[in-house]
Symmetry: C2
Subunit: 208 residues, 2 copies
DNA sequence: CGTTGGGTTGACCAAATGGTCAAAAGTTTA
DNA sequence: TAAACTTTTGACCATTTGGTCAACCCAACG
């Protein structure tokens, strides 16, 4: 049973408006969470009328789900790139750096994700199980092999990854707090070398 | 101008019901965020009628603010206890342990706080500036003095504190994700020794 | 035992919000 | 340019939600 539905290529307007809506929605969802966001807010931020938004998306939830799906790819990418064939410590430090860059470049995405997980991942749990979990398990194995080969200090790879996620995303998700404490609007100067040191000292298998 | 308002001692019923409401509200706010929570949910969780709840609190916001205020004390406590006169590394590791215990024992409080900060701390920014900032600055100085005395490796105290907050609270705030990845309902076994190692290796001023 | 005051609630309200729809305005195509 | 389509919107709707209020319940006390 071939799928012979003639899927029309989306017009220029379709493309432009869908992008606008998703961009506006990312702003709003990231700032207020799913329930806190309103279609009117999204509509205004997108420069479109509310019914027009519902012409492009079936409803509020579909917009949110679309964003979450798009995000998942971007989100896993830095971890995917971690290469089992590379130099262990370099690979992990490079991963930390990529995550930190992402927190800086895509804070809205980070907060969207944080919001979703905080609320118990109601719309994302399947994704997590299907996409993130296998990748997580695979990379844990890679790290474990590095450890077994004596290339890294013996630590629990799972908690290592959690610590990397926690420390890097913290700068995006808790940015409001950090801005108050550092009295600066520049996004957390000095975080890069600090995290480099933190994870180097943890992982370098040097005899003390 | 003496405050001669005769403040009546709250009755037993008052005390019991206010506690009930705040406990129910903590559940609901922690799970759904401020906007996502409804008075009806809180009322049901508390086993009281909605008007009855509004007999004890002026409105949704007052309940939320009350929770936030109560939280602030509990939240700062572990950091307050960090003693400038103690053994530096021990003091910091003990602080990490207290924070980790708190994430385990009070996950609702942690998520309430995380939600508030994620939304840009609309109701808490003043508190942060007034209470957290001075404490943060003071403890940064303490740590800096320890470093200057050669008792700790030279790192940026501010990012050290951020890293402690991030790694410990992660286990409460991102618990949904962690539960999926670890395939267990026990709260993150093995986190304690991992974080001990992480921060010991960062801070021990041993020559490598 | 009746009054008083704290505690409780069903019924209600106005505003906000997600969503619908028919008709109008543009755009593309034959 | 006229038909055929895609896109846009004003007006509207049902539901949810924070909040009000007058009446009611009930224990304590004179």
């Amino acid at each position: 049973m071939p799928d012979d539905t003639p899927v029309k290529a989306p017009s220029r307007i379709q493309l432009r408006n869908r992008r606008r809506i998703l961009d506006a929605a990312l702003d709003v969802f990231a700032e207020h969470g799913y329930r806190g966001a309103t279609l009117d807010q999204i509509a205004e931020a997108a420069g479109l009328s509310k019914p027009n938004i519902l012409y492009y998306f079936a409803g509020k939830e579909e917009i949110h789900v679309t964003l979450l799906n798009q995000l998942m790819e971007t989100w896993l990418d830095p971890l995917v790139e971690m290469d089992a064939g590379g130099e262990p410590l370099d690979e992990i430090l490079a991963y930390v750096q990529r995550k930190l860059d992402m927190a800086r470049d895509l804070p809205r995405e980070s907060r969207l994700f944080a919001n979703e997980i905080l609320q118990g991942a109601p719309r994302m749990a399947p994704h997590l199980k299907a996409d993130l979990k296998p990748l997580f398990d695979e990379k844990c194995h890679v790290i474990q092999r590095w450890i077994d080969a004596g290339k890294l200090a013996p630590i629990d790879p799972r908690h290592l990854i959690f610590a990397i996620w926690a420390t890097t995303q913290h700068y995006a998700d808790f940015g409001a707090q950090i801005r108050v404490l550092l009295d600066t609007d520049q996004p957390a100067p000095g975080a890069d070398p600090f995290l480099r040191t933190l994870f180097t000292n943890l992982l370098a298998p040097t005899v003390r």
